[in-house]
C-alpha cells in the first residue's frame, strides 16, 4: 500500500494513496503506520481524501491504531473523509469513536493546541 507521510510540527499526517482499504492491503497499512508509532509519532492524523471504500478489515485496522495510540498516551484523528466512507462510519457508529475533521489543517490545529 502506498502511503504519504508528512510531519507537521508534532503531528504525523498519514495519507493512504489507494482507493480502497480492505482485506488485501489493510495489514500492510497497519504495519507501516505502527512502524511510525514505534519511532515516536504519537499524534497521528489520517487523511482519507483518497479513500473511497473500507471493508471490515480496513475499519479493524483503524480501530487497532486507535487502541494502540490510546494505550501509548497518543491520539489519532481522521480528516477529509469522503462520502461513501462517511456513510460506513455513521452506519457503524464509528463516527462517535473517532475524532473526525473536515480538513487536515483543522485536525492539526486541534492536535497542536492540546
Amino acid at each position: 500500500m502506498e502511503i504519504e507521510f508528512t510531519k507537521k510540527d508534532l503531528v504525523l499526517v498519514v495519507k493512504p494513496l489507494e482507493k480502497n482499504i480492505e482485506a488485501g492491503n489493510s495489514r500492510d497499512f497497519k504495519s507501516k503506520v505502527i512502524e511510525q508509532i514505534d519511532q515516536g509519532n504519537k499524534k497521528i492524523v489520517i487523511n482519507l481524501s483518497k479513500v473511497e471504500f473500507m471493508d471490515s478489515s480496513g475499519l479493524g485496522c483503524l480501530i487497532s491504531l486507535l487502541k494502540q495510540l490510546a494505550s501509548h498516551q497518543g491520539a489519532v484523528a481522521l480528516c477529509d473523509v469522503q462520502d461513501p466512507v462517511k456513510r460506513i462510519f455513521s452506519l457503524t457508529r464509528l463516527n462517535q469513536v473517532f475524532s473526525i475533521f473536515p480538513s487536515e489543517d483543522e485536525a492539526i490545529k486541534t492536535f497542536s493546541s492540546r
Partner: protein
C-alpha cells in the same frame, strides 16, 4: 558418500585416463565401452553424472543421451558430452538431445573437473529443491485437509434444522469466501413464544475470524442469554465479553427475537447492515442500526426496537459481503440494487427470495467468487 560417475567412451585409453583422474579426485568411476552398455549401466548403478562420448560404434552419444532422457528412470542424471568435435552445430545437437554441457578439450583436466563439480552441485541443488517442493506440497495438503475439517466443524454450528413453527417460515444461507468464514447465522426456538435469530459478522475473514465465530456462538448459546427477552441486553453482555483487544477484531450483529404467536418482533442492531422489512402492500422499511460495533467501546449503549409484523411481512437480514461484492469492473453490488431486487421479488416465498438474491449477486459478478463471506437470513410471518 562418493559421487558416482559413469564414463561412456569407445576409446580404452581415454577411459583409463579419465578413470585415473577422477578416482584421484575421490569419485566412484564406472566405465562403459559403447552406448548399449552405457544405458544398461546407467539403469544398474544410477550414476550421479555421465561423461558421454559422441562418436562411437553402434549408438552415437546423441542417441544414447536421447534414450536416457526419455526414460523416467534415467532422465534426471546430468550428461556432459566429452568429444573432440568442435563444430557449433555438434554442440547444439548435444545440448538439444538433453546434455547439460559439451566439453571439447578433453585434455584439460582442470576444466573437466570444474564442469563436473558445477553440474554435480546443480544436480544436488535441484534434488534439494524437488524434495522441499514435495515437502511443501505435503504440508499444503495437510493444511487444506485441516481447513476442510475446520469448515465442517463450523458448518455444524449453523442451524441444522429449521424449527417447525406453524405461522413462521424461515430460511438462511451462509457462503464463506474460503473454506471457513467469519459469518454465522443462528435460528433457535427457545419457547413457543420466543424465536431467536441472529446473523453475526466477525471482522476480517478466514481462520482467525472463523475461530472467533465459534467462540461467540458458544457464548450466545448460554441459557441466560438465549432466554433474555431483550436483544439489547444480549448485545450489551456480548460487547463486554468480546472487547476489540481480546482478538484484535470487532463484530457486527443483527439480533432479533420474535413471538410467533403475536408477531411482535424486537431487534437490536450493532453496526450491522440495516435489516429489511418487506411489506406486501407498502414499500420496504429499513431496520436501522441501534448500537455501535461489538467490541469497540465497553460502554456502548444498545437499543431495542419493536415492530409489529403483519400477515405476509418478511424480514430479510444479511452480511456486508452482499453489498460489498464487486464485479470485475470494481463496481459494488450495493444497497440500491439489493433494495430494488427485494421490492421486485417480495411476493416470492422467503426461501425463494434468498435463493434469488444469491443468484443475483453471482450474476452481477459473472460468477466471480465472493470476496467476503456472504450470509442471508429471512423469515416470513403468516397470522
Amino acid at each position: 558418500m562418493k559421487n558416482k560417475i559413469l564414463v561412456i567412451n569407445d576409446s580404452e585409453s581415454i577411459r583409463q585416463i579419465l578413470q585415473y583422474y577422477l578416482e584421484k579426485k575421490n569419485y566412484d568411476v564406472y566405465l562403459a565401452k559403447d552406448g548399449l552398455e552405457g544405458i544398461q549401466k546407467t539403469k544398474d548403478i544410477s550414476p550421479d553424472l555421465i561423461l558421454l562420448d559422441v562418436m562411437m560404434p553402434g549408438l552415437t552419444g546423441f542417441e544414447v543421451c536421447r534414450k536416457l532422457k526419455n526414460d523416467p528412470k534415467t532422465e534426471s542424471c546430468p550428461i556432459i558430452f566429452l568429444s573432440s568435435l568442435t563444430d557449433t552445430s555438434d554442440k547444439i545437437q548435444g545440448l538439444e538431445s538433453g546434455g547439460v554441457d559439451f566439453i571439447t578439450n578433453t585434455a584439460d583436466q582442470a576444466e573437466v573437473e570444474a564442469r563436473i563439480e558445477t553440474h554435480l552441485k546443480i544436480q544436488e541443488l535441484t534434488r534439494e529443491l524437488k524434495a522441499s517442493n514435495q515437502e511443501l506440497m505435503f504440508k499444503q495438503k495437510a493444511l487444506n485437509a485441516d481447513l476442510q475439517a475446520a469448515g465442517v466443524i463450523q458448518q455444524s454450528l449453523l442451524p441444522n434444522k429449521i424449527p417447525d413453527i406453524p405461522n413462521i417460515k424461515l430460511a438462511w444461507t451462509c457462503h464463506p469466501s474460503t473454506l471457513v468464514g467469519g459469518d454465522i447465522c443462528s435460528i433457535s426456538l427457545i419457547e413457543p413464544d420466543q424465536l431467536n435469530c441472529y446473523i453475526l459478522d466477525v471482522s476480517g475473514h478466514g481462520v482467525p475470524s472463523a475461530m472467533v465465530t465459534v467462540s461467540i456462538t458458544q457464548y450466545l448459546g448460554q441459557k441466560e442469554l438465549t432466554t433474555a427477552s431483550s436483544p439489547k441486553h444480549v448485545l450489551t453482555l456480548l460487547n463486554k465479553e468480546y472487547p476489540f483487544e481480546k482478538f484484535n477484531m470487532f463484530s457486527t450483529i443483527f439480533y432479533m427475537t420474535l413471538n410467533p404467536k403475536n408477531g411482535k418482533l424486537i431487534f437490536s442492531n450493532a453496526g450491522h447492515p440495516e435489516g429489511i422489512l418487506l411489506h406486501s402492500k407498502k414499500k420496504l422499511e429499513l431496520l436501522p442500526v441501534t448500537g455501535s460495533l461489538i467490541g469497540v467501546d465497553p460502554n456502548s449503549v444498545f437499543d431495542d426496537k419493536v415492530i409489529q409484523l403483519e400477515k405476509g411481512d418478511k424480514v430479510f437480514i444479511y452480511t456486508d459481503g452482499v453489498i460489498e461484492y464487486r464485479n470485475s469492473k470494481g463496481e459494488f453490488y450495493g444497497t440500491d440494487r439489493l433494495y430494488a431486487l427485494l421490492e421486485k421479488i417480495k411476493h416470492h416465498s422467503i426461501h425463494e427470495i434468498l435463493h434469488l438474491v444469491f443468484e443475483s449477486i453471482l450474476e452481477f459478478g459473472d460468477g466471480r467468487p465472493t470476496q467476503d463471506d456472504v450470509s442471508l437470513l429471512g423469515l416470513e410471518y403468516f397470522t
